[in-house]
């Protein structure tokens, strides 16, 4: 009965600078579910798409990093709200892509939404927890504040297509950096949907740029890009991480190395993913009459 209707097959696009362009390369690739059945076509991002995404992320950086922490927190919370509305869609995509039971998929989606809430609450605590005044031995007031690193490239986890993705993306945004994300290659659909969520929430265009495609292909361009300040190699293809880290060394980028194997993303992340893309700025001023 349900097979009577012919499905409308969708070709997804990239999410760059608040818009949904096709890949400039014109390339697409087939996305299948865990059993190999066709799900959708995804845009296959090229190095030029990555270049455009970096330009967008840089352009969005001043406003996003300059927003009040209070405002950023609410924007991130809004992402959770909008995701909640698409809960079922996320569950279907996670279940199909990751081959999870519906209850496990639901748990992953729940955790992903809750992770936005967790990071939404961090934005206006970071300054107090990671900064402070320094009691220097002289007539100076001296204080340190955490500041965003700038533009961060993220090679998202290959396996955990939503919870893993949110776990590496949300902390970068919470800290005030903007992001260029390369999604899981085989399981990009939750990321695409997240892009749609972001576009319809309050996250300004360019703050998050989602590239579906091959981290192995785009990764080196991002790692070597002089206008990328940091790179998270979590989803780097096995065997390529060292080369990417070497490329990133040229620009003294902040690098998060990939774990030996993909971690259990449901664990409490603590501050471990916030601090790598924060800089500490220390300001001195004399105290005199």
């Amino acid at each position: 009965m349900s097979t009577d209707r012919l499905a409308v097959r969708k070709t997804y696009k990239l999410y760059v600078n608040g818009a949904f362009p096709r890949s400039e390369s014109g390339r697409i690739y087939e996305v299948t579910d865990a059993k190999g059945a066709f799900l959708a076509n995804a845009a296959w991002a090229s190095r030029k798409d990555a270049r455009d995404a970096v330009v967008a992320a840089r352009a969005a950086s001043a406003k996003w990093s300059g927003a009040t922490a209070y405002n950023r927190g609410q924007v991130l919370y809004r992402v959770a709200e909008v995701m909640e509305g698409r809960h079922a869609q996320f569950c279907d995509e996670v279940a199909a892509g990751e081959g999870l039971s519906s209850s496990k998929a639901r748990a992953a989606v729940d955790a992903a939404i809750d992770r936005w809430v967790w990071y939404a609450g961090w934005t206006d605590k970071l300054g107090a927890v990671l900064g402070g005044s320094n009691p220097v031995a002289g007539p100076y007031f001296d204080f340190s504040v955490p500041e965003p690193t700038g533009v961060v490239a993220i090679l998202a986890p290959q396996r955990s297509s939503l919870l893993g993705l949110v776990s590496v993306l949300a902390p970068v945004l919470a800290g005030g950096s903007t992001a260029v994300v390369v999604t899981s290659k085989a399981r990009p659909l939750p990321a695409v949907t997240l892009g749609e969520v972001l576009a319809t929430s309050d996250v300004p265009g360019g703050v998050v740029n989602v590239l579906t495609g091959d981290a192995g292909e785009i990764g080196p361009w991002l790692a070597e890009h002089d206008d990328v300040d940091g790179i998270d190699l979590t989803g780097a293809p096995a065997g390529q991480a060292m080369e990417l880290e070497r490329l990133a060394a040229g620009g003294i980028k902040r690098v998060v190395r990939p774990p030996a194997e993909e971690p259990d993303w449901s664990a409490d992340p603590g501050l471990s993913r916030l601090t790598p893309f924060l800089e500490t700025k220390t300001v001195w001023h004399p105290m005199g009459l």
Partner: protein, 481 residues
């Protein structure tokens, strides 16, 4: 009676320092021969050979790392944190007690004025040990995550501009957090590190906790590249920093880098001009400008440019250049012939590119390496002297018209270590400080340092912080900072 107040020579006595004709490596609590060809370390103010120092080869480094590993596993790691702290307190006290000796030796080997080694380098080095001593048994309260654990063996490579102070910045936090170290001092300034080795023995620090392996680039590469090193800490040029970052890529080694800079020192028209001029002088001529955070780009608001430059030139005319051991010397010797050549080359390029070179009338000693304090005006942001780190007493002056332009020019660099702001307006200070992409911002001051205050860069000036609570994270497992 003449009306000129000529300061008679007031040299600090060398007799307090006993420089040995040759030095070995300090490995596992003993001075041992190095396997490489020894090298000479000279007094850059006179070119006199001070001593011959061993070169550590890869095998020597391996011995040092093994000693450090043994000490870490058997002794220093398991030691009661409070006792580790007490060792650091001991070291701090010894540095204070032998302060004059260290200061004289530092000035001899480095060429910096005794006033600075005596009043800045050595007291700050002692302060770093004192500060970190207290942390040793309080790491649980450092806010760096639960039950912080040391990494293991730290390989540390330090520069020649503040030899003892950079040693303290590296060794004190490493030991306080329970790591052991293999440290390579710069090849032109090994002597205070070797005297520090003696202090370690005097403090009865267990063998292997601190190992000092002298040598040049190859030795440094061996330290950084050793497979059993858990942590690499480097201070030096961005170029070498890049190669170190490449070398540790794909390993488990935790890396912190403190690299070059091209700091903007921004002077607004409402600045306290006399203090700003002092800050400019302190920013670029402190330690002959051999300072990674030196205020080498003066950004002065155009409407006070002439007034500020006139004051600055008059002030520079009062700087006293010469014998580093003379207590009245403000500008000492350039650390090495190599560095002198680089400074000369960049200054010549500055002139060739059309900037205006100004130097005070200034007699340079005949022997040794010297470069007079130099100011380039009419510098454009496109000039190399506005972009490249000179690491010498050379100031490039640029102008701006509005706060936005000042910030844009200040941030227009691949570096991001430090910056200065001079203005009487408090809200402007905070707004500009907020927008500067630099790890340390000095407002109405410059080149102030303190062990409680985190230091380190944005962008290609490196990553990680030294000093303060933040600095501990570099030496702790899974520390979230």
């Amino acid at each position: 009676m003449t009306r000129l107040f000529e300061y008679a020579p007031a040299p600090e006595s060398r007799s307090i320092v006993d420089v040995a004709p040759s030095y070995g490596l300090f490995v596992d609590g003993e001075f041992v021969d190095g396997s490489g060809a020894p090298f000479k370390t000279i007094n850059p103010a006179t070119e006199e050979v001070l001593s011959e120092v061993a070169t550590g080869t890869a095998e020597d480094v391996d011995r040092a790392v093994r000693a450090a590993r043994r000490a870490f596993t058997r002794l220093w790691g398991p030691m009661r944190p409070a006792d580790r702290g007490k060792y650091l307190f001991r070291i701090a006290r010894l540095l204070q007690e032998r302060a004059r000796e260290f200061a004289v030796l530092e000035s001899l080997d480095n060429g910096k004025p005794i006033r600075e080694s005596r009043d800045v380098d050595v007291p700050l080095a002692a302060a770093h040990f004192l500060y970190h001593a207290g942390w040793a048994d309080k790491l649980d309260w450092a806010g760096l995550g639960p039950g912080p654990k040391p990494l293991g063996v730290a390989g540390q490579v330090i520069p020649w501009n503040f030899p003892l102070l950079m040693l303290a910045w590296k060794v004190a936090p490493a030991l306080a957090t329970g790591n052991t170290v293999v440290l390579k001092p710069a090849e032109t300034t090994p002597l205070t590190a070797l005297l520090f080795a003696e202090v370690c023995r005097q403090a009865d620090l267990p063998p292997g906790v601190v190992n000092i392996v002298t040598g040049a680039g190859d030795t440094g590469r061996a330290v950084v590249g050793h497979a059993d090193v858990d942590k690499v800490a480097f201070t030096g040029s961005t170029e070498v920093g890049r190669s170190i970052a490449r070398a540790v890529a794909g390993t488990r080694k935790k890396l912190t880098l403190e690299l070059g800079g091209k700091a903007a020192n921004i002077v607004f028209d409402d600045a306290p001009i006399d203090q700003a001029v002092e800050g400019i002088v302190q920013g670029i001529f402190f330690n002959q400008g051999h300072v990674c955070c030196a205020g080498s780009r003066l950004l002065v608001q155009e409407n006070v440019h002439d007034e500020v430059i006139a004051s600055l030139q008059r002030r520079i005319g009062t700087l006293r250049l010469g014998d580093p051991l003379d207590k009245n010397t403000d500008i000492g010797a350039i650390n090495s012939h190599l560095q002198l050549e680089r400074i000369r080359q960049l200054a010549d390029i500055g002139e060739a590119e059309g900037a205006n070179r100004w130097q005070p009338a200034c007699d340079l000693p005949e022997r040794g390496f010297w470069f007079p304090p130099t100011v380039f005006t009419d510098v454009s942001p496109a000039h190399r002297i506005a972009r490249d780190e000179v690491f010498g007493p050379v100031l490039s002056v640029l102008t701006f018209r509005t706060p936005d332009e000042a910030v844009a020019k200040a941030n227009n660099t691949t570096y991001g270590l430090s910056a200065g702001i001079w203005t009487e307006k408090g809200s402007r200070i905070l707004a500009i400080a907020d927008r500067l992409r630099a790890g340390v911002v000095w407002a109405n001051c410059f080149n102030e340092f303190d062990p409680t205050s985190p230091f380190g860069g944005y962008k290609q000036s490196g990553y990680g912080r030294e000093g303060g609570r933040h600095g501990l994270a570099a030496y702790l497992k899974g520390a979230t900072e």
